[in-house]
Symmetry: C2
């Protein structure tokens, strides 16, 4: 069994054809969904790249792995999927983005900051980096993309800034950092764009593997900003195709939650609060999604041609979503479904999964379930301190007892302007969301909670967090969150099986406690 773990960056759950977008067509992803299971209520552990990805790579909640925001390194003490595979003699290759920040202090402490193979592995979050490139600044030495671009005629010391995220406006080169320019095509040809390049690298690497089994994380940097799409994707959609923009009567009023209000001071929210900005950016975003879809189609075609489609588990997901102007907000973070709910398509080629092919599953699943799922598919035991659970029983059509009935998500806004706006210390900027099928409850340190009736108000228009008639619900949800936090896996150095085998065995070890 091979594993192909495809991730899009900042792709909203509802921006796929198969999840019901009114205008965006994603035929290749829809075809994957028809071949596997589309998990319709899949959630990430944090609505921002770093902590979310570290959960995808460790199988643990952000509160467990500790990398609570983009710039917080994953502790060298945390074990990633790549390492777990290595323990079984396998490797996990990477093309694209991981957002792994090396734990330099931890590596230095453990004298692993040199050029050893282990040091490199840890610095790369357990990945065997074929070509790494995180997408939010010019590619570094970990990527051959700049050389590739130059070889294809994009002459520049920084072809990413000058071509990939640049456009031409009446003869003048303009930057895609400025969202006013994203209706223009990128200065690179589609075949040389980021999404195409990463796909090429992945397919070349897969081809080289021949018949040997492999695991690959193909991690696109799109549709994340800068939102510049290459032709023809830049013009595939119009403002009229961008669907409704969600607004709540509470938006921007005194009834709004203080943390949400503080986020409105961020540049991206100031911009996206203007409907014309949202209508201007959404078509480019949709074009970038359509482009990812097309390249996923290339990958599937190549696997079929190589005869590997039937022995490869394929997962397609995203690290989080994006507001795109909904609620007058931009970008990500906070706990609305636009951000914390993601696409999740799982194709298990095993015959045992035939019974669920083409179905959608509304059970609550989390990003942390993928590590146990991959390990399960590869016949490797997951460490018991993984917070997630294998999805394979669900793929087999089973109804595992006590499948989870809530999901946990976390935010640390210590690095954000909102912290300054609220006058809080870096350690006092935490929120936890617990979401069931019916309710979404958000605990904010130092502020009132938020509460949404996600069953009757799926657009989360009414924050009931201060409404006295929902005291009982808030109390019950807070109790659940307390239970969740109190039962997280804090013990990481021993598996449950060891404890089970050594319960009440001190006498056998010559320790005779309490014998009179």
């Amino acid at each position: 069994m091979n594993v192909l773990f495809i991730m899009a960056d900042q792709l909203r759950w509802d921006h796929l054809g198969c999840s019901g977008h009114p205008h965006l067509r994603t035929p290749h992803l829809d075809a994957l969904a028809r071949r596997g299971v589309r998990f319709d209520r899949a959630f990430v552990t944090s609505g921002v790249c770093g902590p979310s990805r570290m959960s995808y790579y460790t199988g643990r909640y952000a509160v467990s792995h500790g990398a609570t925001w983009n710039r917080v390194p994953l502790s060298v003490g945390e074990v990633t999927l790549g390492e777990m595979l290595r323990g079984a003699g396998l490797t996990l290759a990477l093309t694209g983005k991981t957002h792994v920040m090396p734990d330099q202090a931890g590596l230095q402490r453990l004298q692993l900051d040199g050029a050893s193979e282990l040091g490199l592995l840890l610095r790369h979050g357990g990945f065997d980096e074929i070509d790494r490139y995180d997408g939010h600044s010019p590619p570094g030495r970990e990527s051959r993309y700049p050389d590739y671009l130059r070889a294809h005629g994009y002459a520049s010391a920084d072809p990413w800034s000058d071509y990939v995220i640049a456009a031409e406006d009446r003869g003048r080169v303009v930057s895609g950092w400025h969202m006013r320019n994203v209706h223009l095509p990128s200065r690179v040809a589609e075949a040389h764009s980021e999404t195409a390049y990463m796909t090429d690298v992945a397919l070349d690497w897969i081809a080289v593997q021949g018949d040997a089994p492999w695991s690959l994380h193909l991690s696109y940097v799109k549709p994340h900003w800068p939102y510049v799409a290459p032709a023809p994707y830049h013009a595939m959609f119009r403002a009229a195709d961008t669907g409704p923009i969600v607004r709540s009567p509470q938006d921007g009023t005194g009834a709004e939650h203080p943390v949400v209000a503080a986020y409105r001071t961020h540049d991206e929210c100031v911009s996206f609060a203007r409907e014309e900005v949202a209508r201007h950016v959404r078509p480019a975003y949709m074009g970038l999604v359509a482009q990812v879809d097309a390249h996923v189609g290339r990958v599937v075609d190549a696997l079929r041609a190589a005869g590997r489609f039937d022995d490869t588990m394929i997962v397609f997901t995203s690290d989080h979503g994006e507001f795109l102007g909904d609620r007058g907000l931009g970008e990500k973070e906070l706990f609305y479904d636009e951000v914390v709910r993601v696409p999740m398509i799982v194709v298990d080629p095993d015959a045992s999964a035939d019974v669920t092919r083409g179905s959608s599953d509304a059970r609550l699943v989390e990003s942390i379930d993928l590590v146990p799922t991959f390990l399960d598919a590869l016949g490797i035991d997951a460490p018991t301190h993984c917070d997630g659970r294998s999805l394979r029983p669900l793929l087999r059509g089973e109804a595992p007892s006590a499948w989870r009935d809530d999901v946990l998500c976390e935010l640390d806004y210590g690095f954000r302007r909102a912290r300054l706006a609220l006058g809080r210390a870096p350690s006092q900027c935490r929120g936890f969301m617990l979401r069931t099928a019916e309710w979404k409850y958000v605990h904010w340190e130092g502020f009132r909670p938020q509460l949404f009736d996600v069953e009757r108000d799926p657009a989360e228009l009414a924050d009931l967090g201060a409404d006295p008639s929902f005291d009982t619900i808030r109390h019950a949800m807070r109790e659940r969150l307390m239970d969740k936090l109190a039962t997280l896996r804090h013990r990481v150095t021993l598996d449950d099986a060891v404890i089970a085998a050594h319960t009440d065995t001190h006498r056998a070890r010559g320790i005779h406690i309490g014998i009179y």
Copy 2:
């Protein structure tokens, strides 16, 4: 400034003269208390050696460091006091017990399982082991005690079992593992006993340091079981000196908490439930305490003689207490004050602490405060992910704003017979205690809480955890516990200062998010 961190093992907070024991005299510890501050409400993070000590050594709650019970290794990812000192060019020496379990899997993962200096340091919990010996089984190669004993005429392959914890009963050698024998004197002379030996090793080591600054953890293995005391301490106290035995009307009835009831199946509780056992063991325990007191006196005398008494911070504490038959329970664990409240005497030689000398302080302090206290005394910044706070402001007579008003304690009984008695999985055996000046609330996974009014019922005779008239209190305490768990320091790889310095700075790094 030198640091002398003295720990007794399993010493109850109330078994000192200065804390009011009616019969036990501890003149040397009392003298230390007169020279420093006696913290009268000091609590450990778990009522069992391993997790409690790992908190003493990391400055972090058990829920943070993850070594939740005796046999759970401290993750190699956790940084201990010894390492923190090493970062400042100092070392932390050890004579005696640490209960550090090496994280073999973690060391192997990081290729530190060889004989490197770093590997050794991590295997030893950051200590420079002068002579390590944990006291609950025969000393291993980390201690010279067996050779020392043989050199002093105790001829045996295992002189600890045959002499130190053995006694002679009418010509027959009997073991101190059997508590019926603990009225008899140990087969070693007092001068060769564990407490004397550890003191000798410490004093020899201190003498060798000369005028160089040093930090030493002098960690006695007594009055922990086996309770055998050498003459004359074995006979210093009688049953009549052992004070009242606390019994609650709820003990052993259906009104008792299920986890407490399950603990009654443990051998030590079966034994200590018999009053004659408690009355038989307590005198030996008291003798062992008196012996520790005498040897602390030797240490003080030696420091005075060497002229180091006035430049050494001295702390005396214990890793937890012991029931000694109170409530019909034996040994430790659970959350009663007999177990989780400890002696804590802090002597700071600095003139700034003169204002508090000889006082007792009733503010809530925790074992995790010692790491920041030592670092503070040595002029080293504590990492922000330490959960504790330096006690030095309190020693200077200050009233720091927002000093803590609750303490957190934890238990993982997954290894214990109680787990089997209750039919629970290893991961479902957790309890958390939150104690304020007025209330002690215990959250048990899967069971009702416990609640004690520790102000009006300091002996914790009435468990109000199921009493409907205390719903409001329980609710408020549960809310506090929730807030505590939600604000623990999960982020360990970045200090708050780094976040403060890099808040809202992405534009300066060339990342122009959300600009139209």
